[in-house]
């Protein structure tokens, strides 16, 4: 922690080129420092939002646990009455639980970051509260809901399949690329949405259609064209690979997963750099 004396000697410079000359790694380093400095602030704001979200309701905090599970239960019901196809080699409920957990984690991270930037416009405009902290608050809510879904998924898995194979531990590193991709894309689209307000609507349309083309709740028929399309859809690549790793302990397709991992890292670094550079410039425009 810098002392008062060292703060007094620090020179702050504001100019048009501020932050433009920094490298992306400098940007990530600075964003991490900002987040660390504001960790308490982020946690208390999140705790308050968490507690107050349902404070006028009879069930109160229970809704925080019920809400994330509603989509899984609804689609499980549809699968049970055979509305859409299922895979023969795994129970439909397991297929849906894993698919939805991953889909909702990735898409929520993108849409919540966009919404957070707009809803915190006043604090961002009038204070020096960092944009990274605002985005971290959005991440915290997605993370909580994902944990609830994972816990529910574990129960479903245990009841319907039993213990997963030991090779399933590979899932842990495999979760990193989709997280990086969603965080990076969320940052880029948040900034882009402040410039071009159509972006949020376009993203919503893409996600609506993408939901059915990402192997989230049902498999698509095997066909060379469909397979090729799926390879270009990072959601499908990650969901399918992680699902196979959890259920069968199968490693991902090295080339496709590798390419999307590299792209995810690049998008994450690009997103961090973009919000770092744009943050002081967005003030006054939000």
């Amino acid at each position: 922690m810098p002392s008062q004396q060292s703060k007094d000697r620090q020179v702050t410079v504001y100019r048009s080129q501020t932050r433009l000359a920094k490298t992306p790694l400098d940007a990530i380093d600075e964003l991490v420092r900002e987040l660390w400095r504001h960790r308490w602030h982020v946690s208390i704001k999140y705790k308050n939002t968490f507690k107050s979200r349902f404070n006028q309701t009879a069930f109160g905090i229970i809704w925080q646990f019920i809400e994330p599970l509603l989509p899984i239960s609804a689609y499980a019901l549809l699968a049970y009455i055979a509305v859409f196809p299922t895979r023969d080699d795994m129970p439909a409920l397991v297929y849906i639980a894993i698919g939805l957990t991953l889909w909702m984690l990735m898409t929520d991270l993108v849409t919540r970051q966009m919404a957070a930037l707009q809803s915190n416009a006043a604090i961002l405009n009038k204070t020096r509260y960092p944009l990274a902290a605002v985005l971290a608050e959005a991440f915290a809510q997605s993370a909580f809901e994902t944990v609830v879904r994972i816990l529910a998924g574990c129960v479903i898995f245990g009841l319907l399949i039993g213990a997963p194979p030991w090779q399933a531990v590979i899932v842990l590193p495999m979760l990193i690329p989709p997280l990086l991709l969603a965080l990076g894309a969320g940052m880029i689209f948040s900034v882009l949405n402040s410039v071009y307000r159509d972006v949020e609507n376009i993203i919503q349309i893409i996600f609506r259609y993408g939901f059915f083309l990402s192997l989230t709740i049902f498999p698509l028929p095997s066909h060379p064209i469909v397979d090729r399309l799926l390879a270009f859809n990072p959601f499908a690549v990650y969901i399918d690979a992680i699902r196979n790793a959890v259920v069968f302990g199968a490693p991902p397709h090295a080339l496709t997963f590798g390419i999307w991992t590299v792209l995810a890292v690049a998008i994450f670094i690009g997103g961090c750099n973009l919000i770092y550079v744009m943050e002081p410039r967005l003030k006054g425009f939000l």
Binding site: M1, D8, Q10, R15, S16, I44, T127, V195, P280, R281
Partner: protein
Amino acid sequence: MRDELESILEVDGVYKRYARSAAATRKQLSEVFLCALTGRSVERSDHQKDEFWGLRNINFSVNRGQAIGVIGFNGAGKTSLLRVLGGQLLPDRGEVRILGDSASFIDLGAGFNPRLSGRANIFIKGAVLGRSQEEMEAVADDIIAFAELGDFIDAPVNTYSSGMNARLGFAIVTHVDPSLLLIDEILAVGDFHFRQKCLRRVREMRQNSSFVLVSHNMSDVRNFCDEAIVLERGAIVCKGTPEEAIEFYQESESRLLGANQPEAGERFRTQIHGHFVKQEDLVEFEHAYWGTPSGEGLGSFTIGDPVGIHFRFRLKYSPRGLRIGIPVWNQNNIQVTAFASFQKGAIIRPDTDGYVSGFLDLSRSAFNPGEHLAVISVHDNKEFLLRQPLDVIDIQGKPMTQYWGATHMNHEWQGLDFQ
């Protein structure tokens, strides 16, 4: 030991460009976005058709312990300048250098989470000002004591009045000890007692901090600042002592408003004494003057003479909460006192014809010698019906008596052996 001549703030050739339309704003932002993506310079020396310079070639510096006043008409660029100095807006050209850190009084409540308690918001606002939890813990008790919120400190901020909000905000901002404080017209926080406390706190801070004060109140600029600048259409048009800057500003104002407008001196007086109003459809003003109890008008009197203020007006409707207030200023534009009818806890009832007339007996008042201006203010609850100045009264001192300050108190020296 700190060097008092050390420059805390340097503003060097700062320009800020603004857009006139939503389309131009979008275009500006797209340009910035593309520059951010490509890493190329966002600086350009011109402005396009739908743009204008909100700030133009601003240069000045402030040393440690100094206060600089910024005055100018509405839209001159004062708030933009504060926002650039506070890092809320980046300049389009030039640069701002601050040794240490800055805090802003621009919006004291900004950064508060309304659903959290005042105590929790001390830390939240501290974080917004760049202070850690540990740093805020060290000053939290002082902040709570200074804000005088008592048990309310543990109540959610959304239950606070605007005054309580401002008091808490002021206490937090002034306890983080920034090198540079940016103030936008808000030295008037809370009631008289708290305002005095604020001024004392700001005076203490002048040991270590520098100030940039934006104000329309020339008295604040004159009393508080070491230097002042006048902004006109985004550019500095005068820089000098507060007196020089105020004089320049008033001359510009006269030029701008034209010959048909009231004299500059009169307008200046309005800035000190507030705006004068007369709602002629609601009230018929007959008179208000200094005079003897028998009603004889006076232009001057000697301290101790029987004297007071006579007033008479007629209301054309039935008021719900009629009150009279009479503030008095001395020749140095310092408000000496104010007399308020509602301190008696009652509202005034007009007679059957709507007339209100009376006499405010000031025979035992404690004014010091000099010219004084009283203003009669009649209001129905919070609405001003009438606010008019009386003729200036010249108060003479008693012979062989010395007076200091704005008032004298009845007093007696005891236990001393005078020769």
